[in-house]
Symmetry: C2
């Protein structure tokens, strides 16, 4: 036996269990079938690094959010697409505020959790697939570090082109990113070096998620500096209009449609 | 890149970080170098199952223990060997009570944490290696589910023989186990079936631990029913004198030297 996971909807299963813990409804994770245990998200990096983190934050209410999340939602205007809606924490607040918000996710399990929590407008798929649906937006949200979804040099231009195709005139993107280069931890600086040697951006993480018997395939997730982001945006229909780095190394990047 | 970890002292690194979080001394795990995050122990099973669990319990004081731990320490008498001493939570209470206790562990990092927390008598190695040291004991503790260290049919008799070689007349073993067969979760019942097909005990887990960039090799860890334990003890110098299953599926097994 190799210890390899079965490919499946890791994120959906994880969020279903977090919801069960939070509501007390449905089967919950137990140790020895008896003692409740927290839901832990496990992330593997392709150099062998592994990290576990409690997953409850995906369902956290605004009172528990980081300050940049509040500043991000305060920037929202008009028809809004929440990309990687997850368990819907951001979408639920926007709904409450009367913002017309659509939640997009590739995880069917995540959408099910959103539905049960009251998010009304949900779309399954990628942004590329969503272009054909004919819906158009004024604001695109990439929160919860989801600037990472631009993956790297290759994917970034196609990703930003798809957003432009979904955009109304004057549209904006509000993206949460993290500058990865402040660390002196050799586990991370060594990985950044390795990435550059293989022609990738330093913080272009190759990851997979695991939960219980399930794993995702390996995928790229970009953690980049503001300078790298500015480079990636150049030549796309977007321009980097504002960077809020009051909570460095985290930042909120605002892109607006150029021209 | 394969995502394979580097072999190292997983448990020691983990406990060092838990101690740093608890005391506020030394580098602590952070998200984005900024937000503290809990230390999570990750356990992989050879069928691809993975679990993360907060590791703080290794340093928990008696007030946070499960009831069976208290009943276990109340059974201690005489010169005591705490096998798999971990971060020393049990040994520290015994010291306080004036019990002469020795902590044994294969993890150098764990012993370092024990030392810093005040455990006085510590030995690095396996029980087999410790036989040659000439020390002899009245009580052997296998707490924190450490009955698992008997691994399975092959190792159990050698393990119990080594304990007998370390034993004074009238010695006892107090072991904490878990009956694995109460579950109906197919992820577990399927694994038990698979194990039996490959000639192993149903709950003979093949595991490795991971923490950050480190992993252990794969090892066997036995989760067995009381009936299976009784079978494994038969023909050894020990007899199964008592089973306390008041907190089923967890149980405390007491073995005494036969004859």
């Amino acid at each position: 036996m190799t210890g390899e996971p079965r490919i499946g909807d890791v994120f959906g299963e994880l969020l279903r269990d977090v919801l069960a813990v939070q509501t007390g409804i449905g089967p919950r994770p137990m140790a020895g079938g008896r003692l409740p245990r927290p839901v832990i998200e496990i992330i593997e990096r392709d150099d062998g690094l592994i990290n576990g983190a409690p997953a409850a934050h995906y369902l956290a209410g605004p009172a528990e959010w980081q300050p940049y999340d509040h500043r991000a939602v305060d920037r929202v205007r008009g028809e809004t697409l929440d990309i990687g809606v997850g368990a819907g924490r951001i979408a639920l607040l926007l709904q409450e505020r009367g913002v017309p918000v659509t939640g997009l996710d590739t995880s069917l399990g995540a959408l099910k959790v959103c539905r049960r929590r009251g998010v009304r407008d949900l779309v399954h798929g990628t942004i590329d697939e969503h272009v054909a649906d004919g819906r158009r937006y004024d604001t695109f949200l990439l929160l919860g570090n989801n600037l990472g979804l631009i993956e790297g040099r290759d994917r970034a231009s196609a990703f930003l082109a798809a957003l432009a195709a979904l955009a109304r005139p004057g549209a904006q993107v509000i993206a949460h990113g993290t500058d990865p280069y402040g660390t002196t931890d050799p586990v991370h600086t060594g990985y950044h070096e390795l990435n550059r040697r293989r022609g990738r951006l330093g913080g272009q993480l190759r990851l997979r998620l695991r939960y219980r018997e399930l794993g995702t395939g390996w995928f790229d997730y970009l953690v980049c500096s503001v300078a790298e982001l500015a480079d990636l945006v150049r030549g796309t229909p977007w321009r980097l209009a504002d960077v809020d780095d009051r909570d460095a190394p985290y930042y909120l990047a605002t892109l607006t449609l150029a021209g």
